[in-house]
């Protein structure tokens, strides 16, 4: 038997009772629509939430260090070294920004322009050498101080972009000096383009050894950037690494992980709708099975005739299987179309970018066809099993 003949007979069989065929697809339409909408809207909504978690926010961890009560610092300056060695930490820096450092008068030795206010009240803080990376900034001029400067206690400073503008420092080739609370420091570089801790832009940053003079003795904050996905892990490991004895005194501020954000999108309602969709599919399958069985019983004589004309059992089975599969496929196609329309509509209302997964659009009709195929198994078997003489009576 030619495939086109088989298809022709199946289609003719379906079109002989168009209303019944249309009604039979309804269950599958309902089920597939529900599934497509549920999965599609969940994916779209999930994408929105994940989209808002840009990588920067999702990987920034801050550890707040309380003031020590015993005299010994809770986190020592060299503890950051240990933290940086943890797998998943991309950059880290310890910062001391106590109140003592706020509003220190700073003056530059640039040629005094009488029309200009040359003394500014700026924030002074101390930081370890990893600060540019930890603050996600970049040296717009010069360089940051290094371990050597720190160890020797050199009187060097790095200033933020905004502070440089206020102080009128635009070039470093003449090793400009600034007077911080009356003490002279050589400006090594200007830190700008900050994507974290933007307030550093208007600050003067000193090596920890130099900061003591301004009361910046203890680490108050540790800035950490992790690789994507390591946030949770680092948030758990950081306290112990920073302060082996008193880790539980530290307060870790970590963003919700993207995984959690996605989980939140797929809430209980979605699960409910998924179950609803699956139940509809099962009901749809039962509907197809039922109607196909009725059709088989109605068409007993037709089956007998086909057998008399030379149709083998498998030809009869194939025809009914194909008919039920086509019903399922039609339901799947209609359901997928309705689902996509619904996703676009929901997205439009929510002002989301609809996320249409091509795989979903292809899988949905196939799922419908599969439902039809499974539903047709029993009726097709019944049809094929008939003896021609009984069928013709």
């Amino acid at each position: 038997m030619h495939v086109r003949d088989l298809a022709g007979e199946a289609v003719a069989g379906l079109l002989a009772r168009p209303v019944r065929t249309a009604l039979t697809t309804l269950g599958t339409v309902l089920g597939i629509t529900t599934l497509v909408v549920t999965l599609g809207v969940a994916a779209t909504a999930g994408n929105q939430i994940v989209g808002r978690f840009d990588e920067l926010a999702a990987t920034a961890v801050t550890v707040e260090v309380p003031e020590s009560t015993t005299g010994a610092p809770v986190v020592t300056w060299d503890a950051v070294e240990r933290l940086t060695r943890l797998r998943g930490v991309e950059s880290a820096a310890a910062v001391a920004d106590a109140v003592e450092g706020a509003n220190v008068s700073v003056r530059s030795n640039a040629l005094v322009d009488p029309a200009r206010v040359t003394t500014h009240a700026l924030t002074v803080l101390a930081a370890t050498t990893g600060l540019p990376g930890a603050a996600r900034g970049r040296m717009t001029l010069g360089r940051f101080y290094d371990e050597g400067h720190v160890r020797r206690g050199d009187r060097v400073a790095v200033i933020g972009e905004e502070a440089a503008r206020m102080l009128g420092i635009t070039r470093l080739d003449r090793a400009p000096a600034i007077f911080v609370g009356g003490h002279a420091y050589t400006v090594l570089g200007v830190l700008g383009d900050l994507r974290r801790e933007r307030n550093l832009s208007a600050a003067v940053i000193l090596p920890p050894t130099a900061g003591r003079r301004f009361g910046l003795r203890e680490v108050t904050r540790v800035l950490v950037n992790t690789s994507l996905g390591a946030t949770d892990l680092i948030a758990r490991q950081a306290p112990a690494a920073l302060s082996p004895g008193a880790g539980d005194l530290l307060q870790v501020i970590a963003p919700p992980s993207p995984a959690r954000a996605r989980d939140a999108a797929r809430d209980d309602a979605d699960a409910l709708f998924l179950i609803l969709g699956l139940v509809s599919l099962v009901v749809g399958a039962l509907g197809i099975a039922n109607v196909t069985l009725v059709t088989v019983m109605e068409r007993v004589q037709e089956i007998g005739l086909r057998r008399a004309l030379g149709a083998a059992r498998r030809h009869v089975a194939a025809q009914f299987l194909l008919e039920s599969t086509l019903i399922g496929l039609a339901g799947g196609v209609i359901g997928a179309s309705l689902g996509v329309v619904a996703i676009v509509a929901v997205s439009a209302v929510q002002q989301w970018t609809p996320l249409l997964d091509v795989r979903l659009a292809i899988a949905a009709p196939l799922a419908g066809a599969l439902v039809g195929l499974l539903a047709g198994l029993h009726p097709a078997w019944r049809a094929a099993r008939m003896e021609p003489v009984d069928a013709l009576r």
Binding site: M1, H2, R4, D5, E9, A12, L15, A16, Q301, E302, G304, L305, R306, R307, A308, L309, G310, A311, A312, R313, H315, E387, P388, V389, L392
Partner: protein, 217 residues
């Protein structure tokens, strides 16, 4: 063939009792007998639609009772054409489609099928009704459509259950002329009939009474 067929019932219906029959190639045989005597039952066995309860049946030298369903189906589809007592035309399909149905299960090519079906319809005088739905045909026209379908498969054995039951004498004459033509082409024809006219045109006549077959002169 020498067969018996019982239908399971209480008591069992013995529709055919050791019926012994031999039909030669190209023969035109008429089966007559009262209603309920077992004529249709015999035709079903001959047409491989039914298996006898006991006995054997050889078609073109092949013992068919021991064949599997698939082989019987191939024999049936390839060699036998049926005209049923109740036509069995599919509603919702045109006369032409109904006739074309006879060829879709064989290995015959799709090409030319429509032309062959039209020719068969032309032969039974239904060339002007090809697009009609069967339920808009008269009883006689339906019968002729069923004959056209039986002829399309190119069978070597034509089995007809009351093929002229609904025809007036003129149309009956036409169908009988057609049978004569077919027989000359080498077709074997077995016809069940009540009509004197039809059985007289047949070369040979057998009578069944209560499942017992006897030759008639």
């Amino acid at each position: 063939m020498k067969v018996s067929r019982e239908y399971p019932a209480a008591p069992p219906v013995r529709a055919l009792r050791e019926v012994s029959l031999r039909v030669e190639r190209g023969e035109h045989l008429a089966i007559v007998g009262p209603s309920g005597s077992g004529k249709s039952t015999l035709l079903n066995v001959v047409g491989l639609l039914d298996r006898p309860t006991s006995g054997g049946y050889r078609l073109d030298g092949v013992e068919t009772t021991t064949l599997r369903d698939g082989a019987r189906t191939r024999l049936r589809g390839g060699r036998i054409g049926f005209v049923f007592q109740s036509f069995h035309l599919l509603p919702h399909r045109s006369v032409l489609e109904n006739v074309m149905l006879a060829e879709i299960y064989g290995g015959r090519p799709r090409r030319g099928r429509r032309e062959r079906a039209l020719a068969a319809l032309e032969r039974v005088g239904l060339g002007h009704r090809t697009g009609f739905a069967p339920d808009r045909l008269s009883g006689g026209e339906r019968q002729r459509a069923a004959i056209a379908r039986a002829l399309l498969g190119g069978p070597s054995l034509l089995l007809c259950d009351e093929p002229t039951g609904n025809l007036d004498s003129r149309n009956t004459e036409a169908v009988l002329d057609l049978f004569g033509e077919l027989r000359e082409q080498g077709l074997t024809i077995v016809v069940i009939t009540h009509e004197q006219e039809v059985s007289e045109r047949a070369g040979r006549r057998v009578r069944i009474t209560d499942g017992v077959l006897v030759e008639e002169e």
